[in-house]
């Protein structure tokens, strides 16, 4: 017997997670910022990082959005194959959750209903929704708020097998270099390697919202994450692009099998305001 779950539970979860994500930055990012504030060599950079820490503490305490760009809402649903969703349309429930959270959470309306006509939807809907089917009878809901100062700096390249790991490194570092000061460094770099054109992009998004304290389980990928972080932090961009050693807080990589002829690489730039929350239903 499949477990029945009312879509209203998903609406509610999305609304709650959206507000929480905007008000309460994750401990992973806050701790990394605190540590960066100690380690940064540039005095101005240290000062900036300390102010960012103060900003996140204030936002948590007063329950206000940490950043005014409350973002485009990205929702990942991992739905157990033994769950039967009842009570209405799933997508509508997710979008209703976004609208509700935006309203009750006093979030900024940052979404236009059409990319070319560009009229504000006035309610932050709809979400960008990714759905996966997983084993079991539970539903995992992840809500990320993606500010576009950093999203706009993301890039994808269809490299060739000959470009190899060196080509991947070059592309990742170059993308952070180009992002420069405008992506609100220190950034979190999500990298998706492999799959197809669209999967690489999706992997990079999943990478950017992975806790930054969590390294990849594969030792070679983990080493690549660490090497790239070091390389990026030698670019000198620093906090807010005003110089220093803390250009990025982490590089998170996800990989997937790919075609014999290809090496897709996607880099999703996350600003320090890397807001996401998740829960099981």
């Amino acid at each position: 017997m499949p477990r029945q779950l009312h879509v209203d539970a998903i609406r509610q979860a999305v609304a709650e997670l959206l507000v929480e994500a905007n008000y309460c930055i994750g401990d992973d990012v806050l701790d990394a910022l605190r540590q960066a504030a100690e380690e940064e060599q540039s005095p101005l950079g240290r000062d900036i990082l300390a102010q960012l820490v103060a900003n996140y503490e204030l936002a948590r305490q007063e329950r206000v959005p940490a950043c005014q760009d409350t973002g485009l809402t990205i929702v990942f649903l991992a739905i157990g194959q033994d769950v039967h969703l009842v009570g209405g349309d799933l997508r509508q429930a997710v979008d209703a959750g976004v609208r509700e959270g935006s309203k009750t959470g006093f979030l900024r309306n940052s979404v236009v209903g059409d990319p070319l006509l560009r009229r504000n939807t006035g309610d932050n809907g709809p979400a960008v929704l990714h759905i996966d089917i997983i084993p079991g009878d539970r539903v995992h809901v992840t809500v990320a708020c993606k500010g576009f100062g950093s999203e706009n700096k993301s890039r994808l390249a269809m490299l060739t097998p000959a470009d190899g790991i060196e080509g991947v490194k070059r592309f990742v570092v170059e993308t952070v270099e180009r992002a420069g000061a405008q992506a609100c460094p220190p950034v979190i770099v999500g990298v998706g390697i492999g799959g197809s054109f669209e999967l690489a992009a999706r992997l990079s998004k999943q990478a950017v919202i992975r806790p930054i304290t969590q390294r990849h389980p594969r030792p070679d990928i983990r080493a690549l994450e660490e090497e790239l972080l070091e390389e990026i932090n030698r670019l000198g961009i620093g906090p807010q692009g005003l110089g220093g050693i803390k250009t990025a807080l982490a590089v998170n990589i996800e990989v997937y099998p790919t075609h014999i002829a290809g090496l897709p690489v996607a880099v999703n730039i996350g600003c320090h305001s890397n807001r996401h929350r998740d829960m099981w239903l």
Partner: protein, 202 residues
């Protein structure tokens, strides 16, 4: 470290001359807000020779689109948006007398010369620190383009609002200088010297 800067409501010529790239300031006085939509309208009005709804002479324009204020708040979170996106309007706004622009991020290399020619100053406020920066705002009032909602032109009273001079009236560019200096010091990879694009929202 930071010095006080009074803008009441204009940035004086003496202050413009005194401010140097890298200076940290605490601004007290009055700012105007305008981001993409409002700056576009202002620039179009200027091009058409129409009068502006606000006098930009001597004023600091803050590129911000705040969140709605919660009950009891003066303003919602109010951090800067990317300034370089306003590049198409920069000359027009400076020609109309704007003395300072405040936002986040760097500019394409030629922008420093534009600020210099018009004796303007570019300030950066802390990107992503909207909750903290809102604390320095003591009053808000819409002054023009009401229909633009959060993008309307507002008058902000600020008290010790923290900012950094990123481009001064001599055309010194802090982002460029700091980045070169730190890259050399850290021996960073010579990635293709990419110029910042014309801005992204925040």
């Amino acid at each position: 470290m930071a010095t006080e800067l009074y803008v009441d409501p204009v940035l004086s010529l003496a202050d413009i001359g005194r401010l140097k790239a890298g200076d940290q300031v605490l601004i007290t006085g009055e700012l105007l807000t305008a981001r993409d939509a409002a700056c576009g309208r202002l620039a179009r009005a200027l091009a058409a020779g129409e009068p502006l709804p606000v006098d930009l002479r001597g004023r600091i324009v803050y590129a911000v689109g705040p969140t709605p204020a919660k009950p009891g708040q003066v303003i919602g979170s109010a951090g800067p948006t990317t300034a370089a996106r306003l590049r198409p309007y920069l000359k027009a706004l400076l020609s109309a007398g704007m003395a300072g622009l405040m936002g986040k991020g760097d500019w394409p290399p030629e922008a420093a010369g534009v600020f210099q020619r018009h004796q303007g100053v570019y300030f950066v406020a802390l990107g992503g620190a909207g909750a903290l920066l809102a604390k320095a705002v003591t009053a808000v009032e819409v002054v023009a383009y009401d229909d633009l909602g959060p993008e309307a032109i507002h008058r902000l009273r600020v008290e010790r609002f923290p900012a950094i001079v990123a481009i001064d009236a001599e055309g010194n560019d802090l982002h460029r200088r700091a980045r070169e200096e730190w890259r050399k010091r850290l021996g960073g990879m010579e990635a293709r010297r990419a110029e910042p694009d014309a801005g992204t929202p925040g």
